[in-house]
Each structure stands twice: as structure tokens, then as C-alpha cells.
Symmetry: C2
């Protein structure tokens, strides 16, 4: 029976590509492993897999009785609901340390870098395993996605070096140009239901005992959201009520302007205003320079909710 390698709920490109890359590495060192996904592929991830000719991992949401490797998260809110009934063999992640615990020793490769795939690149090097061309391509893509083509404050020299090495293996001449193509796919919102957009990259957090949902949409041109901004606001209000959330934030991130428009609904808007030292107008504010949910949005909110 293989160990499953799984990322977080509402998978992003890093979660999917890490699962594939780590499963391949484990199989290469003699441990049977298979990638899994907890939800639908987003259009960016579908584009990446399509570009490099790889299949999506099988959809699997229950892991009771299985052995698993966790990638790209370490908190229960983002894990399978029955994770406590699985045996966690390891965690590869680049976020803050979450509330997952284990009852046996495990391996954790957690680093303060921009992307889980940067760490998996380090693991391939550690074990001296060659990265197949297609897998190098998806690893490179995930790093470009998570670091917003190196613009995010989460990006480190290790991420840039990993992309350079992976691009060479994958035969991609201009990794940054490929990244812009990828973000254009991500920016395409036409014809997509509003709920699907809001949920495309949405994570729930426990902040001082309150449930806070934070979604993020990245675009190369913020004006694509103009016709649907009111609909997005109405939808996050519904999402707040449905999930008994204290607050829901949606970041509309413009990677060219390098900042995010924040849309908020909350039981206490002043908490959010205090977190970002800004005044909300009709539940909106422009956060200049804010590109990273993990590094620039979650920490100030957690502080304000503490």
C-alpha cells in the first residue's frame, strides 16, 4: 500500500505539484508513494500540468488507516477531515507551524522559503536523485506561482536558484516569461461563476478562536474585476454566513501594480482596519505592496485578533 502525498484543501499549484514531485522522489528512493488531491484543479494548475504533459493526481479526500505525507500546510483546518485517523510520515512545508501533531516520530522539511517545491528540490539534491524533465517543469511553475514571479516578499534567493536549475532541466528558456503566461491564465475570470472565483484559493484560519476565511485572486490587471466586484462582495458576505465565519477577506492582487485591493465582511471591521492601519470604504481598501497572504495578511490579522 503506497503512502499518499497530499496538499491542502482547495489545492493550489504548489499543493498539486509538490504532491507529484514528492511522490516521485519517494518512489525513487524505494518508498512506495502516490500523489493525491483534495479538490478540483484550478485553471492555473491545469495549464501547468497540460504544458508539461502530466496527469492530475487522483481525487481522494479520506485517509483513515492510510500513511500520508503532508505538503504545503501543517494545520488541521486545511487537512483532510479524518487526518487524525491516518499515520503522518512526514511534512514538507514553508508556512508557519500549524496545529497538526503526531503520535510517532516523523520527518519534517519545513523552511522559510517561498514555495514547498523549493524544499523538494533540496530533497532531490540531498538524496542525489535526478529530476525528470516534466516534473522539473511543474516544480518550476509552482515556485513561479507561489513567489508571484519572484515579486512576493516571501521569495528568497533559494527560490530563484531553484527556478533557474529547474528551468534548465525542463528546457524552459525564459522562466519569467513563462510565469507571465501562467499568470495570464490565472487572470482569466470571464465566464467563471463568482463563487468559483472566490473559492479558487481560499483558506480558513483560526484566529483567537474565531473562524476567518481569506481568499486571494491574482491578476496581471486589476481592472478585470471591475465588472464583478460588487458580486464578489455579495458572495463573500454569503460565505461568511454559510460558514459561521467571523470575517471573510478577499484579496484582489495586482502583480504588476504590486499591491492588493482588500474586500472584507466582518462582525468587527475595526479589527481589520487596525490590522492594516487603514480605513475601509464600503468594505474595501487598497493595500499597497501587499502581495503575500502568508507574510503580509495573516500575521497582522492574527495580531489584531489575539
Amino acid at each position: 500500500m503506497p503512502a499518499y502525498v497530499l496538499g491542502h484543501k482547495i489545492p493550489d499549484s504548489d499543493s498539486i505539484c509538490s504532491a507529484i514531485a514528492l511522490a516521485h522522489l519517494k518512489n525513487s528512493i524505494g518508498e512506495s508513494a502516490a500523489p493525491a488531491r483534495l479538490g478540483e484543479l484550478n485553471p492555473e494548475t491545469a495549464f501547468i500540468l497540460d504544458t508539461f504533459g502530466l496527469e492530475a493526481p487522483a481525487l481522494k479526500t479520506s485517509f483513515a488507516g492510510e500513511s500520508v505525507y503532508i505538503v504545503d500546510h501543517s494545520d488541521r483546518a486545511q487537512s483532510p477531515d479524518d487526518l487524525s485517523e491516518a499515520t503522518i510520515l512526514g511534512i514538507v512545508d514553508h508556512h508557519k507551524l500549524g496545529d497538526i501533531t503526531t503520535s510517532a516520530p516523523l520527518e519534517c522539511w519545513i523552511r522559510p522559503v517561498g514555495c514547498s517545491n523549493t524544499i523538494i528540490k533540496e530533497m532531490y539534491d540531498y538524496y542525489g536523485i535526478e529530476i525528470p524533465k516534466a516534473i522539473a517543469g511543474i516544480m518550476m511553475s509552482a515556485i513561479l506561482s507561489d513567489t508571484v514571479i519572484f515579486k512576493s516578499p516571501t521569495c528568497t534567493p533559494l527560490d530563484i536558484a531553484a527556478v533557474e536549475a529547474l528551468a534548465t532541466i525542463a528546457g524552459v528558456e525564459d522562466a519569467k516569461a513563462f510565469g507571465v503566461e501562467m499568470f495570464k491564465v490565472k487572470s482569466n475570470v470571464q465566464g467563471t461563476p463568482v463563487r468559483e472565483l472566490v473559492m479558487r484559493d481560499f483558506k480558513d484560519f483560526d484566529m483567537g478562536g474565531k473562524r476567518v476565511g481569506i481568499g486571494q485572486l491574482e491578476t496581471v490587471d486589476l481592472s478585470v474585476f471591475d465588472p464583478i466586484k460588487a458580486d464578489l462582495q455579495a458572495d463573500i458576505a454569503r460565505l461568511k454566513a454559510e460558514g459561521e465565519r467571523h470575517s471573510v477577506c478577499l484579496l484582489l492582487t495586482d502583480i504588476m501594480q504590486e499591491g492588493s485591493e482588500l474586500l472584507v465582511v466582518s462582525d468587527d471591521l475595526s479589527l481589520v482596519e487596525n490590522a492594516f492601519e487603514t480605513a475601509l470604504v464600503e468594505g474595501r481598501a487598497w493595500l499597497d505592496g501587499v502581495l503575500s497572504r502568508k507574510k503580509q495578511v495573516v500575521p497582522p490579522l492574527e495580531k489584531a485578533f489575539a
Copy 2:
């Protein structure tokens, strides 16, 4: 201001030697770091530092406002009381993943091996930093201690390889023979107050909401405890009452016979009997083959308390 590197409360040799070794590595790669200890040195650790001519880390128990690296544990019960007011930069550990969480990304080097110093050896290799002779000596000693000279079921080929490499650097010809000398020091109980013996290597665990204390004394000859066994039992009963614990276990581990005599006081002895599938006689039982608290004592107890 340096980052402090600290092990667990009631420090064992691994906690002290890891703190020294990791602080040296961090300084070598340009990060200012200083080792700290949360409590008194035990006789084994004092012997190790004395043998290789190194100073004990400074005693420090409060870390509010400081940056820290955590070694040899990942749970709050074993951490400084004000850890939540410190910034955790990283964790190096070989136990099950505990309940420490962070509010920012960090580095975790956690591996299912026999000793934290085995992982720190890997880190020195990763960064290409030479290990000074004395530090190699204490790292080797800690691995011999944690793995009970390779006899513990927690011992892995990586631990043995690390000891071999470190012994060469330290100029120790026969690492195993050195280990036996070290365990003789550890076995010396004459003239030591009973409470001091019980606390020499004592850890509290949260098991299904109950506080369970587990101490361990390792010896090369179990009979050294014969004259004081009744006193040890009386003392763990006091310790149970003082700390509002549900249970206190004390393992008297004979590393030559390869097993442990278990002494127990508990609000529910049957839980402990179920955990080890054994009958207690006057609160005692011989657990054949049991050398590792982490791998052979904590998991069955946790299961029984769940």
C-alpha cells in the same frame, strides 16, 4: 542580540549538546546564536562536557521578546513557560510532532532518528561547515546516550554512521567503550537524593487531557536500585500529588539486560496495565525489551489514555 538555542526542561545530554552544537553551526553560517539550558546538568552531561573540555550553556528560563531555536522537543509542556512570547526561528527534533505552533514561517529539521545531534550532523554537512573536535565529541556522546549505545529501537543506521564520523573527528578510538564509561557515570546513584534521581530525566505529557509524568533512569546494573526502590516509589507518589498528575511512571532501565522495571502510581492503574499488557504487582512490572520511553512507553500509554 543572539538567537538562543534551547532544549527541553530537565535537560538531558541531547538537549545540552544539541544546543551547543547548533549554536556553533549558526554562528559559523553568520547567524548570531548562543546556547541556553533550562535547568541543572545531570551527572552524565557534566561528565561529557568535562571530558571534551566545554563549558555548560548559561542557565536561562525566560525568553519573552527573544528569538529562539528549539532543539530535542516540539511540545509546550517541555518548553519555557513564556515561549509564546518568543519568536521561534526553527526546530530540530527527533520526537513526535508536538503542539508548538508559530505565527511566522520557520525552519524545521525533524527526522525519525535516534538523537537530535544526528540531525545536527546532517545540518553541518548540508552547510559544509567543519565540526570542531570538542563539539564532535559531545555530539557523539549525546547520540550514544540517546540510542543507549545503539541498543534502543529508536537507533537508525544514520545514528551509527554519525557516531562513527564524529568519533573520528573527536579522536575517540572506541566510541562504544566510551559509551559504557558514560553509562557507568549515569548509573551512579549513591549519595544522590531520591527526588534528584527521579527528576534526572523526567517529562510531563498531556494524554487525553490528563497529566502524565514519565521518568527514566538508565543503568548498567539494575541491582543498584534495590536499596532505594521503596523510596523511589514513595517519591513518585509525592510527585503525583504535588503536580496534580493522573499518573507518574518511573522506568528503571537496565541497558545490559535490555529491559526496564516500571514503577507506577496512578488514579487508574488498569490503564497502565492495558497499555503494556502486563499485570502490576505492588505498582511494579518488568518490561522486557523496553529501552525507549519515546518509542515503547509513550505511544502505548497515549493509546490507552485516548
